[in-house]
Amino acid sequence: MSKEPTPRMDPAWIRGMTQRRMSRRDLFRYAGAGAGALGLSSILAACGVSGEAQTTGPTAGAEGSAEWWADLKTQGPGDHLNFTNWPAYIDRDFSVDGPGSRPSLNAFTQDTGIDVTYRADINDNADFYATIRPALESGQDTGHDIIVMSNFQELTEMIELGYLIELDPELRPNFDANVGPNFKDPAYDPGNKYTMAWQSGATGIGWNTKYVDEPITSLEDLLNPKYAGHVAMFNNAADSAGLAMLQLGITPETSTPEDWQKAADYLQRFNDASGQLRGWMDQAYLTAIENEDLWVTMAWSGDILNDKLYFPEFATFEFAVPDAGGMIFVDNCCIPNKAANPVGAMMLMDWYYDPVYAAMLTEWNAYVSPVPAGGDIVQADADAAKGADKEVLQTIASSPYVFPTPEMETKLNNYRVLEGDEVQTWNDLFNPIFLA
């Protein structure tokens, strides 16, 4: 292979033709992952289900140990990385095609030479975890080098079952220098052993002022018959039950099973109000509100704000946390076992802890960044910008949902961490509601 291809040939094409992209094994794996989307691989995986909680760290030389990392680091990062994230979560530039359309990621590739396959494939923690669990359980590569999981029970289970690679503390200088206090040493992952936050945000309510005249201040508003058939709630209990408990005056983080029962009864009202609810939804809610099928819905802050700010057709969208309070989630980058390129994965995860790139993300997706220093850059960019750009950047820089004020912080609540049998109780209580 020639080092310098003739200019008329697309380098990507040459790379595609000359380098291994997908081995036979990969092909089977992807085929399995595809089937997994329809639940098939889960069914097959169930052939021998053996979870066993891991209590100690990796043994010397094993995946995730210091020796293992040292060995990998001498080999250097591979030239390719699979990064799987949620939709609407990375900066976009629609004026260009190809890799350039994700500027911050493109900068990473330019700088490191690591080609990144970015997939916005995660729509729901439980569903996504279910598709990769079979591979993890049988000790195989999931096909993902970085995945992004919310601080929900699925992440806790993955840590407890030893499905995630313990991160190398030496490979994250930017993280050490710039991580915000709220994202360091979180309760769900002490010492950031397995995770580094990607972004954080609020679960609240989004609506379209084209159809909704009044400001939405309470979950009760979603039961207003005026909006019958155009209302959605989340089908993950962490968010739905969380908001329900807040509505009932219960603090989710310290709630008891009796409180959960009250929340379940409250949520059941949405099923009982026949024709009121369009559905219990996952990330699909975003498409539904964009199609104007939904008028008012439970929502994740940045999804709605990004739509509102960057797409004229969605300028009528609004987002707010109910007066009774909202939930705050943290979505975390982690490396599943047997990942093909852990060193490259850590390089990318740490890359976004550089305030420059953290700011690029924030300016686009309007979520809460784990890098406070990025905020100064956003503000500086807003001051320097002109015209419509200035308005957008000023809105982001001054939004309490992007840079939570102390007042906003008191309104945002943490999730309940479920332990042992509580998981079963919780699931049995809430999941049937979402099925109705």
Partner: protein, 299 residues
């Protein structure tokens, strides 16, 4: 005319070919049998084993031969089972009503374009099932291409919607399964000898009577196959309810999916899957007894 029989020559024993000949069918069936063994029998056994286990996703599942899993699966999900059976019945009836005229027309009036029509019928199915269903969620969107237009013309009230209703789910399943209804009907209609219809008319049968007494009875094997091919996948479908449905439209497939993917309660999901299979099997056997193809061809 006998070509293959060798003449009996005195003192010469006929060559021993018998064992070789009788092994051939097994040899031919081996690939398919292996396929079934690996992808059907073994998974079924694994599922059967799983359906009797207890435990949870975190601590793992252990074999405890808990047959109560089946009782639980049946007692906790009666509502969803009934809804699935009802939806499947409605889908099958609608699909038959829609498919019969289409199959009839292609079989009797398709002429030399028969295969073109069949190809056109299957054309949309070159696209994945899930993607087609998701496409419908855009088409049926409240302000989408159909309802948006009708609403702006004032034909429909502003609040009218189809997405998220049982109607959308039933319509989606019917659409997705329609070729499985049309094709067997077409095959049986196509085989009817037109001279039989001519003969019935010679015997002063009206068009209606010729249809009812000749065409319909002769196409019954096709109807029989079409009903099975439509109703069985319809009962277990979950994609349509997940994509086009809303609260109150979940079918048994959605429950199984949720048990597997959301609760990760594999034994209960496996038990429920077996309950569903048993129901479909019993249903199909009863149906075959009542309206078996043998009965039709005999009578």
């Amino acid at each position: 005319m006998e070509r293959s029989v060798q003449p009996d020559l005195p003192g010469v024993a006929p060559p021993e070919r018998r064992p070789k000949r009788s092994r051939a069918p097994y040899g031919l069936a081996t690939p398919a049998l292996l396929w079934l063994l690996v992808l059907f029998v073994i998974p079924m056994l694994a599922m059967a084993s799983l359906s009797l286990q207890t435990g949870n996703s975190l601590e793992g599942f252990r074999q405890t031969f808990r047959f109560a899993n089946f009782a639980d699966a049946l007692s906790q999900n009666g509502e969803f089972l009934i809804r699935s059976i009802r939806n499947a019945a409605v889908v099958t009836c609608i699909a038959l009503l829609l498919a019969y005229p289409v199959a009839y027309w292609i079989a009797f009036y398709g002429g030399r374009f028969k295969s073109v029509f069949l190809f056109l019928l299957l054309l949309p199915f070159f696209i994945s099932f899930v993607i087609r269903t998701v496409a419908w969620s855009f088409i049926l969107s409240d302000n989408g291409i159909i309802f948006g237009t009708l609403k702006s013309l004032g034909v429909l009230p502003e609040s009218y919607r189809v997405l998220g209703t049982t109607f959308a789910v039933v319509a989606g399943i019917t659409y997705n399964l329609l070729p499985f209804t049309i094709l067997p009907l077409y095959v049986s209609l196509e085989q009817i000898d037109p001279r039989l219809i001519e003969a019935s008319k010679d015997l002063y049968a009206s068009r209606t009577k010729a249809f009812l007494k000749v065409v319909l009875p002769l196409s019954m094997p096709g109807v029989f196959a079409a009903v099975l091919l439509t109703s069985i996948p319809a009962i277990g479908d979950y994609v349509n309810a997940a994509v086009l449905g809303g609260p109150g439209t979940a079918m048994i497939g959605n429950v199984i999916q949720s048990e597997f993917l959301r609760d990760r309660n594999y034994p209960e999901a496996a038990a429920l899957a077996f309950v569903l299979m048993a129901i479909m099997l019993v249903g199909a056997i009863i149906y075959a007894r009542v309206l078996g193809t043998e009965r039709i061809t005999e009578g």
